[in-house]
């Protein structure tokens, strides 16, 4: 999946996360993380994001994360939505897992 524009998903409300995925001219996955639980879960959040990007086969992207204490499943869902939007894909066939 190739990132062609800015995609946003999520909100800035408590227990949610706002994620922006955009092109990364420098190449690679760059994560700009801001979290109210960065000290406790910063590493974990980064891992979740890297894994999800790998799963979506996104090689180059700037991922801006403003986390208000979201669970991993929320982070994954928001990231996936933001990535699809950033790739300009509108009709997603959600796979069963």
């Amino acid at each position: 999946m190739r990132i062609v524009k800015r995609g946003i998903a999520g909100t800035l409300e408590s227990s949610d996360v706002m994620i922006t995925v955009s092109e990364n001219t420098k190449g690679g996955i760059e994560i700009d993380l801001k979290s109210i639980v960065e000290k406790q879960f910063g590493k974990q959040i980064r891992t979740v994001i890297r894994e999800k990007m790998e799963e979506l086969d996104v090689k180059d992207a700037l991922v801006e994360v403003n986390d208000k204490g979201a669970l991993d499943c929320t982070i994954k869902a928001r990231l996936e939505a933001a990535a699809y939007r950033a790739a300009g894909i509108q009709h997603v066939r959600w796979e069963e897992k």
Binding site: R6, L12, E13, S14, M18
Partner: protein, 355 residues
Amino acid sequence: MIYTSINIKAEERILDLRSISLKSKKDVRIFTEFLNSRDLEMDDDIDYAIVLEENEKIVASGAMSGSVLKCIAVDRNYEGEGYIGKIVTYLLLKAHHENSDHLFLFTKPENEAIFSDLGFYGIAKVDGEAILMENMKNGLADYLEKLSQKKVPGDKIASIVMNCNPFTKGHLFLIEKTAAENDHVHIFLLDENRSLFPADVRMDLVKKGTAHLENVTVHHSGQYVISAATFPSYFLKDSERIIDAHGRMDLTLFRDRIAPALGINRRYVGEEPLCPVTSHYNGLMAEILPSGGIELIVIKRKEQGDGVISASRVRKLIARDDFDAIAELVPPATLHYLKSPQAEPVIKRIKGLNT
């Protein structure tokens, strides 16, 4: 009954998010009243406004003007519930859908932490008064990086910020004089498309009109030099207190960030006897710039016939179709443009404003 207070806190409040109709007098009135109760004012240039209401009573508000978030406030009794987050989320997403992702806001320094949590970064601060923030982490840094690529060595590096609406012999005189007195001149041409002449036309005329000067570079002022973000009241008729705060912010940003990127140590400006906003801004320059090692040089305006040459004088002549008089006041490129078909819609608008 120890749980009573907890029950009340846990009770779900039902809030409605709705947009304020700027055409409805009643809506505007209740919106303005709410802002006033939070020590804020309603600006004339708001594109849209939203509120969170409980039982038709406003508990939080927010608005957008171009790329600037405004009127962000919450009722004292509803603080700490994350309503500002709801408001800002909505505004960010709406702006995103309108392809405007680079956003700004002015706020009091004590609110910096709130907006920092919402993903905004401070870029300039006027002590005790206000702070200017943007939502792109490297927004200003990227702009400065681009600017610094055009840095020219020299002892006397001057700058002029101008709008050129349109480019006149008065502007040319100021630029030529500055170019003669300095090693290099950086011109920041205002980008904001709020002037009668479109930004690309103004840029084109300045570039053509100064092509004979080798030590002049014309830059887009971008979002960081007298833009609707750094200096909203330049384009508005705001109260004096707000104009003062905005002017200080713009000049602090120029002194601390823009000027160092290009090694600028002088700022030239035409004398301003007429416009109160510009004349106040010139006064602020004299106060703020020298502490950053930037000398302010005020140049007496060039005169022609019975008065100084000004863009507004040219616009008045355009309204009267007096091209002989215009030819005396503008360089050939500007005259050529004004006589071209491309200028017709602009001339039409000028005439519309003068009748």
